[in-house]
């Protein structure tokens, strides 16, 4: 079966971002960019399903600027077979991303679409669910175990109180949680090979999707700073402070 994996180019997770002085957003110039950690887990899961002989082809899709080709190449170095970049310099919000992915699903007819549960920049946690709704697919979000057998997917999900397992008809959407797997590193020969794998470049207009934002960002500000704390020398001093000064115990 064919699997589609969606990957997003985001600020590297180790970078502590700074808000721009004009409050229009965060500073992205000269900041290290990378594949969103949850998307990396999605790629790894597709590759493992391919290694098990369940998935036969992995198509990796990204929507974003020209530079997102780097993240598609990374995914191909990890084992994806070909790539599609829907190139746009504009801001594309989850609903528009979901519509573009739906159009690609209509063309490619995958049995499984794997996405990360959230992107670490916008922290939305929406795209997979929206795609599933638009395509009429079942969804297994926040997945920590995925099994595909007998024309169904069994997905164990991380929920507030513990775990839940659901059985989904295929085609289905799966969104990955942190504990689904541990992504591998790309080996140098595979990075070289990935350069030769096919990568189609399209635009939102090719799919007839209007990506005009439905949510307008009015301003972006730094969070309230916490006032500097103190180091106490002893446990006695700590307990005294908590009782008399902070009055929290």
């Amino acid at each position: 079966m064919k699997a589609i994996v969606a990957v997003k180019r985001v600020v590297d997770y180790n970078v502590k971002v700074r808000v721009k002085a004009d409050k229009t957003g965060v500073e992205l110039a000269n900041v290290k960019m990378a594949i969103n950690p949850f998307c990396e887990i999605a790629v790894e899961e597709a590759v493992r399903l391919k290694e098990k002989g369940i998935v036969t082809e992995i198509v990796v899709v990204s929507i974003g600027p020209k530079e997102a080709q780097e993240q598609i190449r990374t995914a191909m170095a990890l084992g994806a077979d070909r790539g599609i970049l829907v190139e746009t310099g504009a801001e594309v919000q989850p609903l528009a991303v979901a519509k573009l992915l739906k159009a690609i699903c209509d063309q490619e007819q995958p049995q499984l679409v794997i996405l990360g549960k959230q992107a670490i920049d916008d922290d939305n946690n929406q795209t997979g669910q929206m795609l599933a709704a638009l395509a009429g697919y079942a969804q297994g979000t926040f997945a920590s175990v995925v099994k595909v057998e007998g024309g169904k997917a069994s997905v164990t999900r991380e929920i507030d109180g513990g775990f839940q397992t659901v059985e989904l008809n295929l085609p289905a959407v799966v969104t990955t949680d942190l504990r689904l797997n541990e992504p591998r590193y790309a080996a140098l020969p595979n990075i070289m090979k990935a350069k030769k794998k096919p990568l189609d470049v399209k635009t939102p207009a090719d799919f007839g999707v209007d990506v005009t934002p439905r949510v307008k960002t009015l301003k972006v500000e730094p969070p309230a700073e916490r006032s500097a704390g103190i180091k106490v020398k002893t446990v006695e001093e700590l307990v005294a402070k908590l009782k008399n000064e902070a009055k929290v115990i």
Partner: protein, 309 residues
Amino acid sequence: MAVLVYAEHDNSSIKGATLNTVAAAQAIGGDIHVLVAGSNCQAAAAAAAQIAGVSKVLVADNAAYTNQLAENVSLLVADLGKAYSHILAPATTNGKNFAPRVAALLDVAQISEITKVISADTFERPIYAGNAIATVQALDAIKVLTVRATGFDAVAATGGSAAVEAVATVTDAGTSKFVAEELAKSDRPELTAAKIVVSGGRGMGNGDNFKILYSLADKLGAAVGASRAAVDAGFVPNDMQVGQTGKIVAPQLYVAVGISGAIQHLAGMKDSKVIVAINKDPEAPIFQVADYGLVGDLFDLVPQLEKLV
């Protein structure tokens, strides 16, 4: 203008996060209706009718909603939601699971984890692991929102007397099936609602060592949380993870033990009123947000602390 609030419940009682979500609905203004979708959920519906400020409770009591499968619930909420200006759900794993589906079915945007209502169409929400706060305006006619509980003070669970109305339509997508659930059992307070949280990280060394945190927590009436490193290492179950991708807490007191204070962990606890850090590394980033820091070995300090509180 009327606001539909999706109730988080276990069929017999209403979960706390619902009360914070009703508070967000009040900040928006208009009539507040609460939807209870479940099976044999009449007790939960009766409890919802008592929530202060709620004028109507809609009850969809059907086997199709037994396990709140997103495929079925989203069809129901999208169908009912057409009559409302706002649809709100708590930003729990359940709310995050179905709310984006509702928005997509209605062809509108969804705004995740709002922490403040500025006006009926303008909201604040954290982005980049809480390192920036965005003020956003929803341009669509229907606003679908998930609400971060720690951003709003809960309304009273009693004092209201809403009318209760049954919903006749049944929406069963037939594409997914519940198989099993494995819920972690704990007698301690719920992490997201606790007044005091004691959390352990990789520095705890192993799961057995968490015993010293549990006994400190029991003495303080606290919930116990953890960092991702502690969960990944198998010290504790995943639902104890605090952070960007785990639970968001804002207790009166947060005690971080053997936790370095990575960006992703701070995202889940830095709105706590008072933060205490116990760490043997004086340079650990957690000390930059801690009100009171104690440098030293947690295996000495935690038992001492337990004796003194």
